[in-house]
Symmetry: C3
Subunit: 341 residues, 3 copies
């Protein structure tokens, strides 16, 4: 595809002596002749000099570069759109596969793609353009919004509700029973019926093998635009705010509410019954059992203010030396005391 | 349902001026007119004054409250039983679905519910009232006890054994191969055949996408009444004691034995070949590579006594200040030494 | 089986007064009369005196023992091979099950075992002796090498490639979409099409419910002989080197490259865009956001040199006492200053 055609389609301004043919999109280190690459993170600006790419997508305000460039205010978005010009994943097969089991009373909107061995329980509703890949299972009474994409081996449990354009990667479980048990006098537990629903609002994406539990009462809610990576655990009755981003293996215990635009690094954990303010950040492998103020950046286990933590962990590595210094001080003070008497 | 009827059915004593109609069970903050709520945790007693619920389940020994109450020695259990009066999950379809594949030599007890595309391997035995939701897979030679409930996309591997009333949430894997490899001289590994079984005793519940490995020799055992949350990893040959409770994303390496009533917080980890005593507690995101005494409460990574850890992490956050104090002391001591000469 | 026959088949030298009949292979603590056991870890040599086993596999250079022994330079390997003499897992059913859905244009090598409800997408290639257990799903365009074993509920996504003898335990997801989103001005995110592939080279084993993401551009690669335990997360564009071993619940963010023979303990984490050298070790529940030198052993979160960390965590547990010692020093120094004036 001509670079000028790409520029037009992804709304970029072309800066080039001559138009060239682009064959592929590639990362800046892997790119070679015929490739279009990009820099969105300013840390990688230095690599522009050494890339073998034939052209590059760049921010408007970056200096001139020796190769043809496509200029835009959002290079990462332009890269994403350029990718779509060169690649589309295999389209799911239109229609309802002959082996799919659709229960009675199911309503299905126009243009479904329902794959082999998909199961849709009684009284479910599927919007228009819904894709259920092979082996997707929807329990009775669930509602799947327009344009949702449900990958193979996903389970959507009874009465759960998905908004529009929700994407669920393989193996994720939406609406498994919350971990609720009433202790009995003999030390054993009585299972508490989990009557709540899981609600995934519009434009949510759920990663592979992630699990989101239903609650005994009330709903577990993932709000509009939130993105959850793989192997994330969301406990019963928790809420994840709009446009929040949870990296892989993050865990939320029950009844914790994350605000908007909260970001959690990989393997981070939240105890139950917390309030986490808008725009808060918890870094990877950190954990908090306290509420988090809006905009706070916290780290550690238990998590504290990130800037304090950074200094504390630096000191931590020097603890053996600190112990020696204290011991030396004690000796010197003892000597001083003796010599003073 | 009349409050008096609920009281009778869940074995509570009603304290009310007049009988009222209850429409729903709800949490204390969400409850409104027509709702029955509960307080089992004394931390929430203060909220009784502000709840809009029409009635409340309470401990016998709590003071009088301004709304009708149902009194019992175990309010959390009473709440659980009240929930069942108002909600039942959709019943699985009785019988064996026409698409299920049941191999030769399988014995199935009375009243099965075997869903679409379920697969039961050769020589398996299923007790009475067993529920296999659609897409449950049982490998050859497994035994599933009476009244077990196996959700969609669960796998029970060859020769594993489930007692009675075991519940397995979606996507859990029972009996995957243990992580056992013999190192060869050239740095590669030889896979060790995993011949052991996984045994889940009566009344065990396993969370969504949890994995429990079989061992090379000997059994991996989850004992009576133990509850495992989602995304938990149980390594080959480990044992979890009766009524133990493991929160989400907990990991046990191989050959570790947890006693009875052990409790592990989310994301906690146990190294291999450990003995953990009855009633021990490891708090969230902690990890131990040492045996744990019965009744111990441990925290941190590596975990130490919880009360020591609480003081140590408080000091940790003040490490930068401690470093300054040591530096000050060193200066002062140096001055004292100089002035003393 | 006669001990002498076992010795011949697993290439050991028999040291025994008389040949005996062996009925079972067992661990050293569980073994009883008729059992053959083994010691490969020198920590367990002391238990040879107390084992009730009838015979034992041992290193050539260990001293004489009171029971018959099989001597070899690699006792753990000999144990693995002995196990295979006594146990074979149930063989998968040969052929292609009548319910399997094989799309057009699929090439299948000789001697397949394709189980019930397996789905193979368009234009896939399967080598010889490939085993797809029931409910395995292969998206279009994937390539599965000779002698691969794919367990139930595994998904291999579009265009992914598996070498020879790859084993994938149940529920693992190979090639789910990487967690890539371009931030928009309004705070929401634009999903980036993930065009890369996941490549699993020869002799790789992937644990149950592990997830390996595809990248926006370029491949995610697990190199020859690497072993990944259960519930591991491999982010988009990362690479795991030859013969590397990742324990359960380990997480790699995106674009991180592990060298050869890297070992990661359970629940360890690697941030994105890192280089980890050959033979590096990160211990359980540790995490690094820095490159790791070849052969380094690191611990902690954030991880530092293991020997430094060991001393630092010892000091950490004594922090409350250190604080008291500093306070005492301050008082004494204050007194000395006063008395000096």
């Amino acid at each position: 595809m001509r670079l000028s055609d790409i520029a037009a389609k992804i709304d970029c301004r072309m800066v080039a002596d001559s138009d060239i043919e682009i064959e592929r999109i590639a990362g800046i280190d892997e790119a070679g002749p015929g490739d279009l690459t990009f820099v969105s993170n300013r840390r990688y600006v230095g690599r522009i000099k050494t890339t073998r790419a034939s052209a590059i997508i760049l921010a408007e305000d970056l200096a001139e570069v020796p190769i043809p460039s496509l200029r835009t205010s959002n290079p990462y978005l332009a890269f994403a759109r350029a990718l779509e010009l060169f690649y589309q994943p295999p389209a799911p097969t239109p229609g309802i596969h002959r082996t799919a089991v659709i229960s009675e009373g199911v309503e299905i909107g126009p243009n479904p793609c329902i794959g082999a061995f998909a199961v849709v329980g009684a009284r479910c509703t599927l919007g228009r353009n819904v894709v259920l890949y092979p082996h997707a299972v929807v329990y009775p009474g669930a509602i799947i919004g327009d344009d949702c994409i449900i990958h193979s081996h996903v389970v959507v449990r009874e009465h759960c509700r998905l908004g529009a354009r929700v994407i669920i990667q393989n193996g994720a479980v939406i609406g498994s029973d919350g971990f609720g048990f009433a202790p009995l006098e003999n030390g054993s537990y009585y299972k508490i019926c989990q009557t709540g629903r899981v609600l995934l609002e519009d434009d949510v994406e759920i990663g592979a093998n992630t699990t989101i539990d239903r609650a005994a009462v009330g709903d577990t809610i993932i709000r509009r635009g939130a993105k959850l990576d793989n192997l994330v655990q969301i406990g019963h009755g928790s809420q994840v705010g709009e446009d929040s981003v949870l990296a892989a293996q993050v865990g939320l215990a029950g009844s914790t509410k994350l605000g908007k635009n909260v970001r959690a690094g990989g393997q981070a954990g939240f105890a139950g019954h917390l309030e986490v303010g808008d725009n808060a950040v918890i870094t990877a492998q950190s954990a908090t059992s306290h509420d988090v103020a809006p905009g706070a950046i916290i780290s550690g286990s238990p998590a504290i203010d990130n800037s304090v933590w950074l200094r504390a962990i630096t000191a931590f590595a020097r603890l053996p030396a600190l112990v020696r210094r204290i011991r030396d001080l004690e000796k010197q003070v003892e000597q001083l005391r003796k010599s003073g008497t």
